[in-house]
């Protein structure tokens, strides 16, 4: 029943809006930038890497597009938003978070 939209391409000019999957994540902790999440569905406890942790924490504050996440991480990591490495890191992190069912794309926005 996992909601997965990462593989569903958004129409041109539109971006997926990501949010934390509240149905699976009711408990999490962060220490020194490292997030540990309890997955209610599987019973697994997952430690997220630095980029995933930052994305997860940002999404806890509210849903965001990949561009918004890019802005947030660029500010946090002091990198230019256009840095291709950063764009790729965010893509991979979202893909992995989505694969674990911790985040989901809810709708698209222009």
């Amino acid at each position: 029943m996992q909601e997965s939209t990462q593989t569903r391409p958004a129409p041109a000019g539109e971006q997926a809006v990501w949010r934390v999957n509240g149905a699976r994540v009711s408990a999490w902790r962060a220490w020194d930038g490292e997030v540990v999440v309890y997955d209610d569905l599987s019973g697994d406890t997952l430690k997220l890497d630095a980029v995933m942790s930052e994305i997860f924490r940002r999404l806890q504050q509210g849903a965001a597009t990949q561009n918004a996440l890019g802005e947030h991480l660029a500010a946090t990591l002091e990198l230019p938003e256009t840095d291709l490495r950063l764009v790729r890191l965010i893509e991979v992190a979202l893909e992995r978070l989505d694969h674990c069912g911790l985040v989901a794309a809810i709708r698209t926005s222009r």
């Binding site: 009711s26 408990a27 902790r29 220490w31 020194d32 490292e34 997030v35 540990v36 309890y38 209610d40 019973g43 406890t45 430690k47």
Partner: protein, 360 residues
């Protein structure tokens, strides 16, 4: 409820036609299931528990051979029966300071260590561990009967003590603050614990940290410390006056001997402790003593791996574990010299008297 109990008993009678299962004998023996209350009414107030050392070794052995003894180890009460002399001697030595009763209205665990009656007993005698009349393990050589009692008790607690979050770790305490020492077999955890509890620290447990799901406090067991292989001689040298059981050779863990817990630790077994440190010790011959900070996220994951029943508790277990990690300073300790490690723990304790101690 009544119908379910009755059905369950009927199934047990099919499995145990000679009524050897404790639940089928509940009315006679007074175990927790329903006979206990009837027995209490008949026999009036029961005698208060006494120290094991209050009984002579002959009396203890006779009780173990007959109706059994009720041994109090922290929050758990075990009903133990055995005709194996080495186990009786081991209990007399290692549990001398623990409370024991001749009868109780119930017990958490009904345990028996018995020799199988097969022909094999003449060639290669064995001992088997019975829990509640069932056999959870394969028999072991008779010479391993005492370690089998300890391993069996550990199993009973790990498999049934779900009122706690149970982590595989030693726990020691000083001035109300506890250090949790998780460690893989061979990491030197028990050796270090044995030395610390004979140098000013109180033993809560050598094997299991019992974490309260309500307030995160740690409950003591104060059971014997299991020493393996080279650590047996090492501890015998360092602590010449400590009571050590006979060695059991060729167990799955190598040679094993059990160290009696200090009397003060047993006397204070009812006192809980607040967790203050999580320290992962590793002994490396010749290594310099080093205490390095460990990330709390890593610590939580590792403690979860070391827990017996983390998955049983679900999100509640996560909350208990993350609360524990929140409270504690987390370290990785490498040591090659026991005196240096002891000195380091002394410094930890001194630090706790300052700002760390203030948070409790």
């Amino acid at each position: 409820m009544a119908r379910r109990r009755s059905g369950s008993r009927a199934r047990l009678r099919e499995l145990h036609p000679r009524s050897s299962h404790p639940r089928l004998r509940a009315g006679r023996r007074g175990c927790r299931h329903d006979g206990g209350l009837r027995r209490l009414r008949r026999s009036g107030p029961r005698a208060l528990p006494v120290r094991v050392s209050a009984w002579s070794q002959e009396e203890l052995a006779e009780r173990l051979r007959g109706p059994g003894i009720y041994l109090h180890t922290g929050p758990f009460l075990s009903h133990i029966r055995t005709a194996v002399p080495a186990v009786a001697e081991g209990i007399a030595l290692l549990y001398a300071d623990h409370k024991v009763s001749a009868e109780e209205p119930y017990a958490d665990f009904h345990i028996a260590l018995q020799r199988p009656g097969s022909l094999r007993r003449w060639i290669s005698p064995q001992v088997r561990f019975e829990y509640d009349g069932l056999l959870p393990f394969k028999p072991l050589p008779l010479g391993q009967a005492l370690p089998m009692l300890e391993w069996g008790l550990n199993w009973c607690i790990g498999a049934h003590g779900h009122q706690f979050l149970i982590i595989h770790a030693a726990v020691i305490e000083r001035n109300g603050l506890a250090a949790i020492l998780p460690g893989a077999p061979g990491s030197g955890k028990s050796t270090l614990t044995a030395c610390l509890v004979h140098n000013g620290w109180r033993l809560l447990s050598d094997e299991m940290a019992l974490v309260s799901l309500q307030d995160g406090g740690l409950t003591a067991l104060a059971r014997p410390i299991s020493l393996k292989n080279r650590s047996i001689d090492l501890i015998a040298d360092i602590l010449p006056n400590a009571a050590l059981s006979a060695r059991s050779e060729d167990t799955v863990k190598g040679a094993v001997a059990l160290l009696k817990p200090p009397t003060t630790s047993v006397e204070r077994v009812a006192e809980p402790a607040r967790p203050a440190w999580v320290i992962f010790p590793t002994f490396k011959l010749g290594a310099a003593t080093e205490l390095a900070c460990r990330s709390k996220a890593d610590t939580l994951i590792e403690l979860g791996r070391n827990a017996f029943n983390y998955s049983v508790h679900g999100a509640r277990g996560f909350e208990a574990l993350s609360g524990l990690v929140d409270t504690c300073a987390c370290y990785r300790l490498t040591y090659g010299e026991m005196t240096e490690a002891l000195a380091l723990f002394g410094c930890l304790d001194a630090q706790a008297a300052g700002p760390v101690g203030a948070r409790t």
